[in-house]
């Protein structure tokens, strides 16, 4: 409570005695006591609770009632894990695709892997790594604490494998090369078109990432600035200037290369089931083709629409794993 207290101190002088594993205890009795072990025993005796006080401690509390109810904003406990993503509240409730490609990639991955989960609309502050998405395991019956730790996106493949999902990583020499096409060229063009293209920033990014956070004009201005500065810094990491035409044409070439790679196959690298790579492609193609995003400057969207097989690939994933 805020009542002008100095920081109150909370420290215990009586610690619970360290529980000694039984096997260790046996070992100790077997070995003749050295002066060191005698000393440590003394220390232990000093810190352990004397028997009468222990009995007293065991007597209290005299009365234990059931737990207090949680506040209204607390999420309902679920047995299934929760994936924290950028999303609108109502979209999260119905499992609609996230509007953030980083989140959508893993959402699609979990859907493909068949890991039953629910979505929570969230923001980067909630994440253990500072970046969404992450998965919070469901409330298990045992409630073992290591099980409840959040799983960052980098560990989701392992998590899926441990939970009986069959997701194959494509074993292809060219896989890394194509992955970098996506992680650099397409991502850079995406960053530019979403955050630095003023028409799109105002029409698309602002309502999704800025005005949803706070109603305060001051906070909105501050967050807008942060977002745009971060996007710019990211782009300037790779080149000394931001060449718009170059960004778009590189992305166009990347789409072309991916289109050729996919060919007439349903999934990339000729797999019979979609892989994480399909999910990462879908993360961008879906958002660029989704009419709900209401892009104003559509250069990047047009570049993608020209590749018919990529458009169909997105449709295929959407219908199969997002129910249309």
């Amino acid at each position: 409570m805020f009542n002008g207290n100095l920081s109150p101190v909370n420290s215990s002088f009586i610690a619970m005695p360290p529980t000694i594993p039984t096997d260790k205890r046996e070992e100790e009795t077997a070995v003749p006591p050295t002066s060191f072990s005698r000393q440590t025993n003394k220390v232990r005796d000093f810190f352990s609770i004397p028997a009468p006080i222990k009995t007293l401690f065991d007597l209290v509390p005299v009365l234990v009632y059931p737990p207090n109810g949680l506040p209204q904003r607390a999420p309902k406990p679920a047995r299934i894990p929760t994936l924290y993503v950028f999303s609108k509240k109502e979209d999260a409730a119905t499992g609609k695709p996230s509007f953030n490609p980083g989140c959508l990639k893993w959402q699609a991955f979990l859907n493909i892997a068949g890991i039953n989960h629910r979505l929570a609309a969230s923001n980067n502050h909630a994440s253990p790594t500072g970046v969404l998405p992450f998965l919070l395991p469901g409330a298990s019956s045992s409630n073992a604490s290591p099980d409840a730790l959040p799983i960052p996106s980098s560990k989701l493949v392992k998590y899926a494998a441990e939970h009986g999902a069959h997701v194959k990583e494509p074993l292809n020499m060219r896989y890394e090369a194509y992955k970098s096409l996506l992680d650099h060229r397409i991502r850079h063009a995406w960053l530019y078109t979403l955050y630095l293209e003023p028409l799109n920033f105002n029409a698309v990014a602002y309502p999704l990432y800025v005005s949803s956070i706070s109603t305060s004009p001051f906070v909105r201005a501050s967050i807008s600035h942060q977002l745009r500065a971060a996007a710019e810094a990211e782009l300037l990491k790779n080149s000394s200037i931001i060449d718009i035409d170059d960004l778009y044409s590189e992305a166009d070439k990347a789409f072309e290369a991916l289109s050729i790679l996919l060919g007439d196959d349903p999934w990339f690298f000729g797999c019979d089931r979609p892989t994480l790579f399909d999910a990462s492609i879908f993360a961008y193609t879906h958002l660029l083709l989704d009419d709900g995003m209401e892009w104003k400057e559509k250069k990047l969207c047009r570049a993608l629409r020209r590749r018919e097989n990529l458009v169909q690939h997105r449709e295929r994933l959407l219908v199969r794993y997002f129910g249309g």
């Binding site: 109150p8 215990s12 506040p71 929760t82 994440s127 967050i223």
Partner: protein, 507 residues
């Protein structure tokens, strides 16, 4: 006639600087001066007593040594007591009392060094403009330095911190001050706080404050860090009966961030930004005879806050009320004359958060973790960990919307040390209940009523113990041994010793 030899002696004596003798002489001189001052004081007293009903008129008040202080500021303070501005003549004692209280106000602005002195003089009767009843008042004061810088470290409160403080006094010559404080520590990661403070109409009891804050604080009981940036204005005044009010507006951007790895789903749902725009009112009536170990009197305090509603806007909306009271009695012990040093203090604290719609909307906003109450800890409900009472999600104290807590403490002097020391033994029992509002299908009123009713559901969480209290001039220290008697599952009680430092204890 002095002999030549004795003249030589005298000469030698004059040349020799005998330190001892000089000291002796100085001492005598000082004593003389003190005697003189005391006599003068005595004479003045007698004079005043003898002439207390003498009609006088204050023709002028002169403040000596106030170069940096504004004339208009001093005018507001002293003009009302000048006889020219009054329609009734003074008696001498009245006049001196008025001037005395004005001087006292002057002292409380904290712009002069201690030892503001006052002289009374009669103007020369040859001055044609003076009347025979006229007196002139001279006040002598020394202005304090305009800028004071202070740095230091604090260690102890389970946190180590370092701070720097800048105080700029009397900025515009009207006792306006600016205080900037920067600190960094293990729990308060960083805090910057700047306050501009000015008295209104030269009254030290009426103050206008404008402040800005930026801080980052760890909240280990709920696995997160709260980052604040805010600004506000506050007006404080004292009533004639000695109670204090303050009304203020603040706007704060709060960020729940840097969650711990174990943070529960409830805390994760709270992560992110919110803006609170709120008007608050605080009222305090403190009639205790000691701030830390009172043996008589009572304290009443209420804090009310309305946030987000109507034109206030922001991201959160609620009405929040909190009240606190404590009452102390001295307990006479048969066989001991006068004050036995034994006293009994009871304390009670309660609060409620009533959700409201933001702006002119119609759906109420459920409360957030940074607006909800926390209860438990060594300074309120002892025998529980910090935030140890109330709703919990796993390791996190997620706070509640309604609470009540009470305590009863019996304090008695430590044998052999005596009642005149700031040390006491105490026997205490304290109890509390902290509840979150239940969802009643969006009916806020119903949910508040039913939650308040639930406070009386079963015994409150309760603990009792004994301890040692030490009232240091700046804070109260307690070392207690306590045991929980009644708890709710999940509530974090502490069996054994607990150490508390604070300025505001529950009872």
């Amino acid at each position: 006639m002095a002999s030549p030899s004795s003249a030589d002696d005298l000469f030698d004596n004059l040349l020799k600087t005998d330190a001892k003798r000089l000291e002796e002489e100085e001492r005598i001189a000082r004593e003389k001066e003190r005697d003189h001052a005391a006599k003068a004081q005595q004479r003045l007293k007698e004079l005043i007593v003898d002439n207390s009903t003498l009609p006088v008129t204050i023709s002028s008040i002169r403040l000596i040594g106030a170069e940096k202080t504004r004339r208009s500021f001093l005018d507001t303070l002293f003009n009302p007591i000048l006889s020219a501005n009054r329609n009734r003549p003074y008696t001498l004692s009245e006049a001196l009392q008025e001037v005395g209280s004005a001087t006292d106000k002057l002292r409380r602005f904290d712009i002069f060094h201690d030892g503001v002195s006052m002289f009374v003089d009669k103007p020369s009767p040859t001055d044609p403009s003076s009347t025979p009843t006229d007196i002139d008042i001279y006040i002598k004061a020394t202005e304090r330095g305009r800028i004071a810088l202070k740095t230091g470290t604090d260690l102890g409160n389970t946190e180590g911190s370092a701070y720097g403080n800048l105080l700029w006094r009397n900025i515009f010559g009207g006792a306006e001050s600016f205080n900037f404080n920067a600190s960094a520590g293990t729990r308060t990661r960083s805090a910057y706080h700047g306050v501009f403070d000015m008295p209104i109409s030269s009254d030290p009891d009426k103050r206008l404050q404008v402040d800005a804050v930026s801080s980052a604080t760890l909240k280990p009981w709920a696995n997160h860090e709260e980052v604040l940036k805010g600004a506000g204005a506050k007006y404080g005044w004292a009533t004639n009966s000695g109670t204090k009010h303050s009304v203020g507006y603040t706007q704060t951007w709060r960020q729940i961030t840097s969650l711990g790895p174990n943070a529960s789903a409830t805390v994760r749902a709270e992560a992110g930004d919110s803006v609170k725009s709120a008007i608050s009112h605080t009222w305090i009536a403190d009639r205790r005879n000691h701030p830390f170990i009172p043996t008589d009197g009572y304290l009443m305090k209420t804090v009310s806050e309305i946030a987000g509603w109507g034109p206030l806007r922001g991201d959160v909306a609620f009405w929040k009320s909190e009240m606190e009271s404590s009452k102390s009695f001295a307990i006479p012990i048969p066989g001991i004359e006068g004050d036995s040093g034994v006293s009994f203090t009871t304390g009670f604290r309660a609060g409620m958060l009533y959700p409201l719609p933001v702006g002119f909307g119609s759906t109420s906003q459920p409360s957030r973790i940074n607006d909800r109450f926390q209860l438990g800890g060594p300074t309120d409900v002892r025998g529980f960990k910090l935030g140890g009472l109330g709703p919990r999600d796993g390791p996190d104290a997620v706070g509640g919307d309604v609470f009540a807590a009470g305590s009863a403490n019996l304090l008695f002097p430590v044998p052999r040390v005596g009642k005149d020391t700031p040390l006491r033994f105490q026997v205490f029992g304290n109890a509390g209940r902290l509840l979150a509002l239940k969802d009643k299908g969006g009916n806020v009123q119903k949910s508040v009523y039913s939650t308040v009713a639930q406070l009386a559901d079963g015994a409150p969480s309760l603990s009792a113990g004994v301890g040692l209290v030490y009232a240091h001039p700046v804070a109260r220290f307690e070392l207690n041994f306590s045991l929980p008697v009644v708890v709710r599952t999940g509530e974090e009680a502490r069996k054994g010793f607990q150490f508390g430092v604070g300025i505001n204890f529950l009872g």
